[in-house]
Amino acid sequence: MRRIERLVNLIAALLDTSQPLTAEDIRATVAGYDQPDHEAFRRTFERDKASLRDIGIPLEVVPTDPFGERADAYIIPKARYYLPQLDLEEDELAALQLAARSLDGDDQVGAGLLKISVAAEGDAPVGPRTLWGSDLVTETPVVIAFYEALLDRRSVTFTYRSPDGSTTERSVALYGLVHRRGHWYGVGKDAARDDIRTFRLERVEETPIAGSDTYEIPEDFDAAAYVGTQAWEAETATQTDAVVRFSKSMRWWAEQNLTGNPATEGPAGSMDVQLTLGRPDALVSWVIEFGGEASIVTPESLRERLLLRIAPYTEEA
């Protein structure tokens, strides 16, 4: 019998049974476990169990004897195996299918969509062929490993490459996983530093290892605040308030894109916008990129920092 047939039979038996089955039960009753000796059976069964878990089948091990003298038994609990009823309306499924195109070419999203559309009537309407796409990626081993660790609340250990090129071993209790500016960031408590740190997942050198300890995430923890939408927003220990002035010809940009920030009228048709920032250096770069159409009003120290930055090009050669 081929291996895949044996696996289907094993899943069927463990899903249909009302009593957990011991390895011996399985060997005696499930088709495909006719290995000549116990050792060969044990190896085959171990490999099959791993295959089931690999594709996400919840295989539970139930001790049959509190004194540990009898063998463990196995069952696939129905409540944990079956996809819960989603009761998606036709337009809801269509919207999800359309949205999933932003992950063009992602195998996982295709598999997930198939699962949730099993119960749907007919094929959901197909919209325009190409409407949008994105560089969002969820399929990398590091993203999945961080996500699973976050789900289980198990801390992760990994080698991290800092922006200056040096590498360090980190052990982190993850509090959140945030996607901003085209990158995934893990936010959590760094054990050695005993403080909240943000890690860019592309800088994680190898697939992280999840530990066995678990932890609690502080209530109302806002991981996104530590990353920020703009690079300068990232929350750090020292937050600074600043006012940036947008010229008459560029104020529309601030009006459209910084809608949540307090603003007042500035001189000559300009507009002053109040910002709270954690990374002053990033704000300086950001203001420079407006090429003179934006300027820092306060604080004075930040104005000086900008002047210092551009000094190599303002001094006489």
Binding site: A12, A13, E89, L131, G133, T138, I288, Y313
Partner: protein
């Protein structure tokens, strides 16, 4: 090699565990329909069905085996109630669905009324504790004005060109231009309008947050039939620009520099600074880069870029030296 074959068996097993509930929910689906739905060749699908036919519950008698019938090309599966619903979503699948949905859910016009919000809420409810949102996953793509995204989405659906007022940071000016929209692309956390720019007669990417105004026109627009979105994935690291700039980056900045900028080659110098050759097309873009690097960059090779950097620096200095009003 062992891993690869396990992966293949795993993929096929996943397909079978989905195919059976699908046929149970859609009795009489045709072989062609199923092959298309599951993205496999017809003969692979028939092989899957033949395999299922050999499986069942212990006893494996006529009453225990899964009953697969193919009648006039129509498929029926019986005696497999335990496979009537698909396997729950894996964490990776749930994450992908959530991320794909969340990325566009804040964009008016893309949300299809509020259908996407409703779908994500139902998905979250079904996943319970393991829902990405509750676990602490947060995804956002910045779109600029929500109204702009709605107009652009509609123009794409209507196959009509748009007229935009656009601020080009690389040139420092705002221009009005007509663009035939091809797609909206989320890159580096921002939405871009990709399309044919009438003024230059070239394909261009426009940052939506830098679009001041946008209106749909009557001009027809048709995206190329062979548009391949994957080519935009690394558009911002593209080093095929015409010009090149050589400069030296300080040891402190050289670590992150390569992550952000299109580098053709690099070489570490005896004093620890790194000499890089950078691809660029716009002088102002390169000049802005020099200014943001400040003292972390030295010896830029292109004098036109340096002259532009001095001009920009003078404007910035004027704005920052004068007393605050």
């Amino acid at each position: 090699m062992a891993d690869q074959s396990a992966g293949r068996v795993g993929k096929r097993l996943q397909r079978i565990l989905l195919l059976v509930p699908y046929v149970i929910a859609h009795p009489g689906a045709t072989v062609d329909e199923l092959a298309r739905k599951f993205g496999v060749r017809k003969r692979d699908l028939l092989a899957d069905l033949n395999l299922v036919f050999m499986c069942g519950l212990p006893g494996y008698g006529p009453g225990d085996l899964i009953d697969v019938t193919i009648d006039d090309d129509r498929v029926f599966v019986r005696m497999a109630d335990y496979f009537a619903a698909p396997l729950r979503l894996t964490p990776a699948e749930a994450l992908s669905l959530y991320v794909g949905g969340r990325a566009v859910a804040d964009v008016a016009g893309v949300n299809q009324g509020d259908a996407l919000d409703r779908a994500l809420t139902k998905l979250g409810r079904a996943l319970g504790e393991s829902a990405p949102e509750r676990a602490g996953v947060d995804v956002a793509v910045a779109g600029g004005a929500a109204d702009h995204m709605a107009v652009l989405t509609k123009a794409l659906e209507d196959h009509k060109a748009v007229e935009i007022e656009y601020f080009s940071a690389s040139r420092g000016i705002t221009t009005t231009r007509v663009v035939e929209p091809w797609t909206l692309y989320g890159a580096l956390g921002r939405w871009y309008l990709v399309g044919l720019d009438h003024a230059s007669e070239e394909e261009r990417m426009f940052r939506v947050d830098r679009i001041h105004s946008v209106v749909e026109t009557d001009e027809p627009a048709e995206p190329p039939s062979d548009l391949d979105l994957s080519r935009y994935r690394n558009a911002f690291r593209d080093s095929r620009h015409a010009r090149s700039l050589t400069l030296e980056i300080s040891p402190g900045a050289s670590g992150w520099f390569a992550d952000y900028y299109p580098i053709r080659s690099s070489k570490t110098l005896p004093d620890g600074w790194v000499q890089v050759e950078l691809a660029f097309s716009g002088v102002r873009w390169a000049a802005t880069l020099l200014l943001t690097l400040g003292a972390d960059a030295r010896r830029p090779s292109d004098q036109e870029v340096v002259a532009e950097a001095r001009k920009l620096a003078a404007a910035l200095a004027a704005g920052h030296r004068q007393p605050v009003a």
